[in-house]
């Protein structure tokens, strides 16, 4: 039960920190992340949401609504264009749920899921923004200079943070039983 577990505090706090760390990392390391021609986008918040799905066990966090709210705030605060991430973040959760039915989640399959999630997120972001006329870079450049570096950065996040976040969740889930 989400309401009775310690995750009730741990999960929103983590979401909060991940949300603002994305912006802070982009600011502090902007010289490295956005050095021409490559641009890497930090998606710690997606990492937190996706890993929460795999580590929640039987706690059942209301992930989709959390994702929608986080997406709305992301739109308001970071981009100023409302309506994209408030749908994309829940979509990523639903996609992960759909994929996870077919595989047992292990470290390697979670890497694969996360790879697909980030790819979908960036692709849909690209298509939506080019539809409303915000960007005018061609698709090939996007694949090579944006998608590939972004995937690399976020997979590094995943590999580094998988076990720490796993133990954090395991501990918060356990405490409620004892």
């Amino acid at each position: 039960m989400y309401r009775l577990s310690r995750l009730r505090y741990v999960f929103p706090i983590g979401l909060f920190i991940a949300f603002f760390l994305d912006g802070s990392i982009s600011k502090v390391f902007s010289g490295w992340l956005f050095s021409y021609p490559y641009s890497m986008v930090s998606h710690l918040i997606v990492l937190w949401l996706v890993l929460a799905y795999f580590f929640e066990e039987d706690t059942k966090i209301p992930l989709v609504s959390f994702a929608a709210v986080a997406g709305l705030i992301f739109d308001l605060y970071y981009s100023g264009i409302i309506g994209l991430f408030m749908f994309l973040f829940p979509l990523i959760i639903l996609l992960t749920q759909a994929l996870a039915k077919y595989f047992t989640p292990t470290f390697l399959t979670v890497i694969m899921f996360f790879f697909i999630d980030i790819t979908c997120l960036e692709l849909l972001n690209y298509f939506a923004y080019s539809l409303i006329g915000l960007i005018n870079s061609n698709f090939g450049d996007f694949l090579v200079y944006v998608l590939a570096p972004t995937l690399a950065l976020n997979l590094i996040y995943l590999v580094v943070l998988y076990f720490p976040i796993h133990s954090l969740f395991a501990r918060s889930v356990q405490r409620k039983n004892s």
Binding site: G23, F34, Y77, G83, N125, L134, N136
Partner: protein
């Protein structure tokens, strides 16, 4: 597949798509036309900005710490170099003061209140940057209450870096000149060569590959040499005159060979911006 695209799901998906694009188009339109975003959005941004400082300030302090350590490393050499410049700067400053007061007196005699070079500044620190490869935006910690309004030019370090794109009560968003949005870098600028001849124009683009600003469609015959300083011209009435933009890097013909294209090396590096100054035209 039959089960996945059941009737109810399909309806939900279509509604979500329509709402999604409606909201996006709406907010883009509001962003382009209105001076401030809707009150709800403003309020949300203020609250989030306040909460965000809990994370942003420690991280910024950490960055400041690392920066000062790395600056300490080459402080000695820099000091030697700067010592030589200090004496010159004092001289220039005194002269600047004399000229400014003279200017004031002359304006008084002419009964001229404020001209395009009179502007006041608001300093702000940068909270975060948009984590996106498409929008080069900074969030700064001053807003409407500090006197900032939309479209004001923003400076950092030596020169111009962008303009205010969205204003909330206590924070605002700054679009950098390097942003892929085409309207973000249209500033009226002028270049004056050694003979005192002036070329007016606007910034028409940003070349990512070289990090240079482009001033296109220059039909003037005035000869511009490399290294000439570029400043804002104040035409248009929002930007003050005389904000430093950068130096001319090279001059080429445009694609049709009719007009000139002037490439400008910006005065400031758009990465690693911590403190910005927003310039407000006095009127």
């Amino acid at each position: 597949m039959q089960k996945f695209f059941s009737n109810r799901r399909l309806v939900i998906i279509v509604v979500a798509l329509v709402v999604c694009f409606g909201l996006m188009a709406g907010s883009v339109a509001i962003r382009n036309k209105k001076a401030t975003p809707p009150v709800v959005q403003q309020f949300g941004n203020d609250v989030v900005g306040f909460a965000g400082s809990v994370v942003a300030y420690p991280v910024n302090a950490l960055q400041g710490g690392f920066d000062s350590v790395s600056e300490l490393m080459n402080a000695y050499q820099e000091n030697q170099l700067l010592k030589k410049q200090v004496s010159e700067v004092a001289q220039v400053k005194v002269r600047d003061q004399t000229l400014a007061s003279e200017n004031k007196q002359l304006k008084k005699q002419l009964k001229l209140n404020n001209s395009l070079t009179d502007y006041s500044t608001v300093s702000a620190s940068v909270l975060t940057r948009t984590p996106s490869s498409w929008q080069n935006q900074l969030v700064i910690n001053k807003g409407q209450t500090a006197g900032i309004s939309k479209n004001m030019p923003v400076l950092s370090g030596a020169g111009l870096i962008g303009r205010v794109a969205e204003v909330n009560k206590t924070n605002s968003k700054v679009e950098l000149l390097s942003d892929s949005d085409e309207s973000s870098n249209r500033f009226a600028i002028q270049i004056t060569n050694k003979q005192g001849k002036t070329v007016n124009g606007i910034i028409t683009g940003y070349q990512k590959a070289t990090g240079e600003l482009v001033m296109g469609q220059v039909t003037s015959k005035v000869k511009i040499t490399k290294g000439t300083k570029v400043i804002t011209s104040g035409l248009g009435g929002v930007t003050p005159k005389g904000l430093y933009v950068g130096k001319v890097a090279r001059v080429t013909k445009d694609d049709y060979g009719l007009a000139k294209k002037i490439y400008i090396k910006p005065a400031t590096n758009y990465d690693n911006i911590n403190i910005v100054t927003v310039a407000e035209l006095n009127s």
